[in-house]
Symmetry: C2
Subunit: 319 residues, 2 copies
Amino acid sequence: MALTLNDIEKARDRISSYVIKTPLIRLQNLDSYLGCEVYIKAECMQTTGAFKLRGAMNKVLSLTEEELRHGIVAASSGNHGKALAYAAKMLGVKAAIVLPYTAAKVKVDTIRAWGAEIVQCDVSERFEVAERLCRERGAVLVPPYNDEEIMAGQGTAGLEIMEQCPGLDTVVVPVSGGGLIGGVSTAVKAVSPQTRVYGAEPAVLPRYTASLKAGRPVRVEPSGTVADALVSQIPGEICFPCVAANTDAIADVGEEYILKGMKLLLLEGKILCEPSSAIGIGAVLQGLLPIRSTDRVCFLISGGSVSLEQIARLERISI
Amino acid sequence: MALTLNDIEKARDRISSYVIKTPLIRLQNLDSYLGCEVYIKAECMQTTGAFKLRGAMNKVLSLTEEELRHGIVAASSGNHGKALAYAAKMLGVKAAIVLPYTAAKVKVDTIRAWGAEIVQCDVSERFEVAERLCRERGAVLVPPYNDEEIMAGQGTAGLEIMEQCPGLDTVVVPVSGGGLIGGVSTAVKAVSPQTRVYGAEPAVLPRYTASLKAGRPVRVEPSGTVADALVSQIPGEICFPCVAANTDAIADVGEEYILKGMKLLLLEGKILCEPSSAIGIGAVLQGLLPIRSTDRVCFLISGGSVSLEQIARLERISI
């Protein structure tokens, strides 16, 4: 059964007292760089630093007390784990977070500080490890994206975007497994069918471009990327049909352009985000999206978990 | 004659097509750090990177063609110079900018790029040098703060704050010569007399605390400060009475707390500003302002001219 506007509206009611209605900000100083009227949805200002809390909260709040008795487990490249750890702490539930050795230290430290158990492994093994933990403990696995409640939660960001800035021409969304863009594109198209929704994924991990071409989820080779929150190798099978139905195009963005986007947003837009979140801006800088100068374009800035060290490394990047 | 709401409203009409109505942003993630409901007025997102364009544009637009014939001259620690250079470029007027050797390189480069002539000197000599240039050339000196048209222009930020977030309890404003807080406090008190207006100046340059105590502008010893846009040694004599009449208190903020404020705003608020602009947040972190947990407090974030190098140096600062 496909995700509907009604699911997303229910999620909004369920999570509203736990998440921030993040600001939608007009960034006029970026117009000349991106060739359009620039807006951002600042999910980097969300509690736990990323949109992930929306889906995580919606999922945990939809579980019964009995289901939550042995705790929850998540496999995550970082922000999903942070969101789950925070949700578990708030609701008094035990949580174990499985995350790859490559996860940013700032994310790992935060998860630990919220009292969750941390289990680290290779990025390719993280789902197996999480499943084994669930079997051993009777805990509930909360998937990072391939789940209707998760997608419905993420979709609430799309509802807010269209409420905060009705009549937007375009919304650009970072893409990994498809939880965020699946939810957001479903919400946006339901409310405003003429608004275009574009996705942006790392060119080194083109799982959506490959899958949309094939008409089914296709697994791509693993790869490192500066967008360390966008490392899924294959679209979620529950996410894929939502994305296929509601997305106008996917851009495959080069590593350099992702960092150019981050630096531009920081130094000219005055907004700090993690590399993954700047990928939509990178897509436009690289000339990959058909944007017109009169278009009102909203970039969903998905998260802001980034260290001063990572910021300092932008020195070598030219905008 | 004292500055009035009418002067500021006229300035708003005069400059509206040249300046950005910058966003007023709710930063919920800072509430627990600052002990209040946190808002910012993001003048770091203003054209030229700072509020200074408001006053500069209002001043230049109030001069006659004859007065502008031999160009304009400004003495500035950076942002005023940038604003003047930009205004001059837009209006086709010749500009010379006098600025101290200590001005941030990123500011100097930008001024040069906008086609203005640059004259560098010691910070204590900058007004003399500017006056000499005016005498030699017949050019018009545009003062950075001690001028009614300049103050009226800066005051438009105050009008916008109260329009964007009516009923604010408190507005906190960075203080140097008094142009910004003079204009903003006049606007805020005229529109909403019960809203408190606090100023924040570097403790190493306590020119307003000393002057308010003395009841007249008092010159303090020169000093270096991380707040390199707040280096005035004495209140402007035109600014002083406006500030005295409309400001509830001035906080003298320690250097370390200015940088703590900048780091907090960047890493937790996701907003990039220059050190000077974070001084109001620093004042609250240092416990210098009587803020209650239910107060809605807007920090005027005056500018965002900052380099990656300066950001990297925040590593040694603890929040």
